[in-house]
């Protein structure tokens, strides 16, 4: 009897299981097919429902803390490395001989660069998300001073007499001049667009600052990025140099003899229909030489080869004898060794007409590239040992420091920084994101068009159908979780679809990411990319008077004449907090002749101040132009009744918008009636 009962219960469970399994499985299959846009992705709930969680204890549990070394310097005696651990907000003090981390010094939010005083006793660290530079007493191992800068400090350098410290402000596109006696900013100078690299000439007279973004021009006009030259004696701009067809000029180095300045750069092909990757049709990578003698010509050279590309050059360093330069290519985990005597020969002996074309010749690098040295994952900043016999490189996504013997040009054992050994799914996704292995011949990585996991400010002709049509502005990837659908036309319901088969067919033109890799990439994109704090416009979450007025305009329901604004014409209808998007499709009157007739997916506005240019084709250089130049018919909100002051206030409010998390808190506070 008992056995019979047992069999009955078991049978019942099996029947119920079958009833749930088949329709349940069918529903799961349909769901996964929709979310992944393929029909054979494994039915693995964990892929999305665990690895895409970006908040709470589960997110915390499955993620790890990494160091992510970014830049580094070496002590004068060559015995100690000081490594900026960007994701840990720390400065790591590493003993070169024992290869051990001796000390962790807490610095500011998202540190970027480090330099040492001449006597080696003091370090200066720029904290990009804290808008300051910290002075570190290395003997005591602690921060002694914190000096405010402009927005997003990155590259730093000292004047030759160490009276002044110069900090490049990437986000506010200017240069902070700090008087080190007074320990405060004394001047702010314009410095290109989204600058980062800085270098003082060997004679101490000149400072170059390199921009990462090109000047904003209408689509179709030539791309030019700036190198700003400063007179370091007078602390003022002395020249602006245009580097044609180049951008992402991350770093600069002068040769010790001062005959050349070298700048790492990328040469995008955004004006060309992206119909192929072969023959360098999407991105080329190289460096520029600015001659410091004679005519001071600017000549560009490629690192690339016809069937192999050296994506995302970051740091460029010159050997102590001035005969070699080293370039770290983050996208391919390589350091290229450049023979500078060959470069000098070319500059002296090739006719002008030919020099102008060298940066289109994919085979020309054979004349000056001596070696390609493999590194760890995502090589970034480099430093030479005191005697010039070793090169140390920050392998950002391996959490170690690579060591290269410059006599043999071979890699030695790296220095492990002692961080987490486990590679989480999101970390793997980040490695995939910055590695160019997912594109044909390693020509570019996701990071190339989305530097800092943001956007590069360029408009591209993706040529998905016809050439020349539907040019689109690159969109930021910061905090896009919960903001589906994706793409300007909103056709991608998930990041899976965005980066899946179609992406491989029309963009990367190589084998699509495997499902485990796509899982990891999606996990990183949706959970691992944060907005920097909005230090420029809303550092403390307290709106200024102008921003509050702007908020009222944003939320208004009646125009200046007392007439009710239709719901569709109110900003807040399509752009409600906390993401400032209703995720639906609208025609805001911005279609051009070369656009197919579509409605655009409403973009979210968090940290919108940092995403110029604007609109789907980047035609608006500023937020203001969205309405002053392109809003004439009130199709993008009812605005034409506003005064200029009101528009200014509205812009002030839009600039104050920060991360959705902060906006959500703001909404809760408002709902609670506290404000």
């Amino acid at each position: 009897m008992k056995t019979k009962k047992l069999y009955f219960i078991l049978g019942f469970i099996v029947v119920i299981g079958l009833v749930i399994y088949f329709p349940g499985r069918k529903a799961a299959r349909e769901h996964v097919n929709y979310m992944t846009a393929v029909e054979d992705h494994p039915l693995n709930c964990v892929s999305c429902h665990l690895h895409m969680i970006d908040k709470g204890p589960i997110a915390k549990w499955q993620n790890k803390d990494y160091y992510s070394p970014y830049n580094l310097v070496i002590s004068n005696d060559g015995k100690t490395l000081y490594v900026v651990a960007q994701d840990a907000d720390k400065l790591l003090v590493v003993d070169v001989e024992s290869k051990e981390v001796k000390q962790h010094i807490q610095v500011g939010d998202f540190p970027h660069s480090i330099i040492l005083s001449k006597d080696g006793k003091t370090a200066y660290v720029s904290n990009q998300w804290a808008d300051n530079v910290m002075i570190v007493d290395l003997a005591k191992g602690q921060v002694t001073d914190t000096i405010s800068t402009g927005n997003g400090p990155s590259g730093i350098t000292l004047s030759s007499d160490e009276t002044f410290l110069y900090a490049v402000n990437t986000f506010s596109s200017d240069l902070t001049v700090i008087d080190l006696n007074r320990k405060q900013e004394v001047k702010r100078l314009p410095a290109g667009f989204n600058p980062a690299g800085i270098s003082l000439s060997p004679d101490g007279e000149k400072i170059y600052v390199s921009s990462r973004r090109g000047r904003m021009v209408p689509y179709g006009e030539p791309l030019v990025s700036e190198v700003t030259e400063f007179n370091s004696q007078k602390n003022r701009v002395s020249n602006i140099l245009g580097i044609d067809e180049a951008y992402m000029m991350e770093n600069i180095s002068f040769t010790p003899g001062g005959d050349m300045a070298l700048i790492s750069l990328i040469r995008p092909k955004n004006l060309v229909p992206m119909v192929q990757v072969e023959r360098g049709w999407m991105m080329n990578h190289g460096f520029a030489v600015i001659e410091q003698t004679g005519e001071q010509r600017i000549v560009q050279f490629l690192l690339d080869e016809p069937n192999s590309y050296y994506s995302d050059p970051y740091d460029i360093l010159v050997s102590k004898d001035g005969k070699r330069a080293f370039v770290s290519s983050t996208g391919v985990n390589r350091i290229s060794v450049i023979n500078l005597d060959s470069i000098r020969y070319i500059l002296q002996n090739y006719p002008e007409e030919e020099l102008a074309f060298l940066s289109y010749d994919l085979s020309f690098s054979r004349h000056y590239i001596e070696r390609r040295i493999p590194t760890g994952a995502a090589p970034k900043g480099m430093v030479l040992s005191a005697d010039g016999s070793r090169l140390y490189v920050a392998n950002q996504l391996d959490d170690n420091i690579g060591v290269i013997d410059l006599n043999t040009l071979e890699s030695l054992d790296p220095i492990d920084l002692g961080g987490t050994q486990k590679v989480t799914v999101a970390r793997k996704g980040r490695q995939l994101f910055v590695n160019a292995g997912g594109t044909f011949q390693n020509q570019y990585s996701c990071y190339t068009c989305h530097p800092d996991y943001h956007e590069d400010g360029l408009v591209y002709n993706m040529a998905g159908k016809d050439m020349g049509r539907n040019v689109t502005n690159v969109q930021s990837l910061r905090e896009i979780n919960h903001t589906a659908p994706f793409k300007w036309n909103g056709l991608n319901q998930s990041v899976y679809k965005q980066d899946g088969m179609r992406f491989s067919t029309v963009l990367t033109r190589t084998e699509a990411f495997s499902y485990p890799d796509l899982d990891a990439l999606s996990s990183f994109i949706l959970t691992g990319i944060k907005n920097p704090p909005n230090m420029m416009y809303n550092p403390k979450g307290e709106l200024t008077a102008a921003q509050l007025r702007g908020k009222e305009i944003f939320e208004r329901t009646v125009d200046n004449y007392g007439k009710e604004i239709p719901e569709k014409g109110r900003c807040v209808t399509c752009h409600p907090a906390p993401y400032y998007s209703n995720f639906s499709f609208e025609d805001v009157g911005t279609l051009s002749e070369s656009d197919d007739t579509i409605k655009f997916d409403t973009p979210h506005l968090n940290n919108i101040f940092a995403s110029a240019p604007y609109l789907h084709d980047g035609r608006a250089y500023t937020l203001e132009e969205i309405w002053t130049k392109y809003g004439g018919k009130d199709k993008h909100g009812v605005v034409n009744d506003m005064t200029k002051m009101q528009l200014n206030d509205l812009i002030a409010y839009l600039n104050s918008l920060g991360s959705a998390e902060l906006e959500a808190k703001e909404q809760e506070v408002l709902k609670a009636g506290v404000k």
Partner: protein, 474 residues
């Protein structure tokens, strides 16, 4: 013994015997063996990749290096068999064969363990040069005949069960010796055959036939005589022959036009083919003197040492391949959509002839138009834009060449190489004859600010058909 126990024992024995039988039928592994393609030495066969179809009586044997007695003829059921290609998991082999002397060459696949063979093609003409593609497909060449364009080996692909056969090359160029590179593209020998025979070149193309472009050409007086082989360290190995003799050479995949290295300098004798073998060693078909047969050797390019692996006095070794698992090449996506009838072609500036023209200070007359020339007739004449650019929509899979014209319709340059655009393919170039090493200028061509000029062909205009009038629409 209890009945029940006896029954269980019997069942176990039967199951064991069945399993053993199945294991026996599946055959042993061939990993580590070398598959050698060889042809009778006294035949009239001219040992050239372009003449493979004449290899009568050829066979494919499997041998273990160092054990000359253990040579097994894998293709004894065939009159002639050539071109072994091993699958990426090392378990199967594609080859071309004919069962009887008068048959056409067809492609077969053999499970190396069991020897079971399956015919994949049933062509009316010769199908040879098989090569595995990354996933479930293979490529091969098929002889096409036409009274105008004569014999031409076009490239085809098909599923590994022989279904879904697709032609992927369409211009009067003949192909041989397909190799699939790690990047997923075909690398093949190519010769133009119409209107006149061109010099042999190496070309690359995607496995759907799109993006066909130049890869390498031997110097004047030399030619590549073997299948190309890609090594683990990104080198392409080949045999090159000239009047003085033959050499094993390598090219860097990254920089093929500037990286030629002679690996067998100083080695007297004649090389016929090359293949991957062990780390830092390769296999070569080689003979020391004219009276000998081509035998198989292990060759160390660093120290020049050569050790015999296989010899058969009655046969010439054509080529060899080691049976092992290889890294699968990339499985490239395809933009081709067969339902589309046309593709797009754009050029940035027809008056730009590459960096060499800058170097040599070319002073060619300015060209204002392009003339698109099909096999039999002119397909269209298009004015280019002020910046020298053009943007055209052409009928898919119809071969054409382009020459540039002055305002007075005088020929300025060309005609260039044959093109064909696959359905839905979009293709672009920088200028005329700028070569595969020239990156584009980052500027928007004026021509793409407008709709493409449609070159509308009569649909019967094909490589192997008669001339019809063309229509040209602005």
């Amino acid at each position: 013994m209890k009945v029940e126990t006896l029954t269980k024992l019997k069942t176990s024995i039967i199951l064991f015997l069945v399993a053993s039988l199945m294991a026996a039928c599946s055959g042993g592994s061939m990993e580590g063996k070398i598959l050698v393609s060889e042809v009778p030495q006294n035949g009239s066969f001219d040992l050239s990749p372009w003449n493979l179809a004449q290899a009568e009586g050829a066979r494919i044997v499997a041998m273990m290096p160092g054990i000359n007695e253990d040579v097994k003829n894998l293709t004894k059921d065939f009159f002639s068999a050539i071109s072994p290609s091993v699958s990426y998991n090392g378990e199967n082999m594609l080859f071309a064969a004919k069962k009887e002397a008068g048959d056409r060459w067809q492609i077969y696949e053999m499970k190396l363990g069991s020897g079971k063979t399956k015919q994949l093609t049933f062509c009316e003409t010769d199908c040879i040069n098989p090569s595995y593609l990354p996933i479930n497909r293979f490529g091969f060449t098929k002889r096409m005949n036409d009274d105008k364009v004569k014999e031409c080996d076009m490239v085809f692909t098909a599923n590994l069960d022989g279904s879904n056969q697709q032609q992927i090359t369409f211009s009067p160029q003949t192909f041989a010796e397909l190799t699939v590179l790690r990047d997923g593209r075909f690398l093949a020998m190519e010769k133009q055959i119409y209107p006149e025979e061109g010099k042999q070149k190496l070309m690359v193309m995607r496995p759907d036939g799109s993006k066909l472009e130049f890869f390498y050409k031997s110097d004047e007086g030399s030619y590549v005589r073997s299948k190309l082989v890609e090594t683990d360290d990104e080198q392409i190995l080949l045999v090159e022959k000239n009047a003085e003799g033959s050499n094993i050479a390598s090219l860097s995949y990254n920089l093929p036009l500037h990286s030629y290295k002679n690996l067998s300098a100083g080695k007297d004798g004649d090389f016929l083919s090359v293949a991957n073998y062990l780390t830092h060693k390769i296999m070569v078909a080689f003979k020391k003197s004219g009276s000998e047969s081509f035998n198989l050797f292990e060759f160390d390019p660093v120290n020049g040492e050569m050790n015999e692996l296989y010899k058969n006095d009655k046969f010439d070794v054509l080529e060899a391949v080691l049976v092992k698992a290889y890294q699968r090449p990339k499985n490239l996506p395809s933009e081709i959509q067969l339902k589309e009838k046309a593709g797009l072609l754009m050029c940035q500036d027809i008056n730009f002839y590459g960096i060499e023209s800058v170097r040599d200070n070319h002073n060619k007359a300015k060209a204002n138009k392009i003339e698109i020339i099909g096999v039999d007739s002119v397909l269209g004449i298009v004015d280019v834009e002020e910046d020298g650019s053009f943007y055209i929509k052409v009928e898919a899979d119809v071969p054409f060449r382009i020459q540039t014209l002055s305002a007075d319709n005088e020929v300025v340059s060309g005609p260039g190489s044959w093109y064909y655009i696959r359905p839905n393919e979009r293709r672009a170039c920088v200028g005329c004859h700028t070569g595969p090493e020239m990156a584009p200028f980052n500027r928007q061509p004026i021509s793409v600010r407008k709709d493409p000029v449609i070159i509308k062909n009569n649909s019967e205009l094909r490589l192997h058909s008669n001339t019809k009038d063309y229509e040209h629409e602005d």
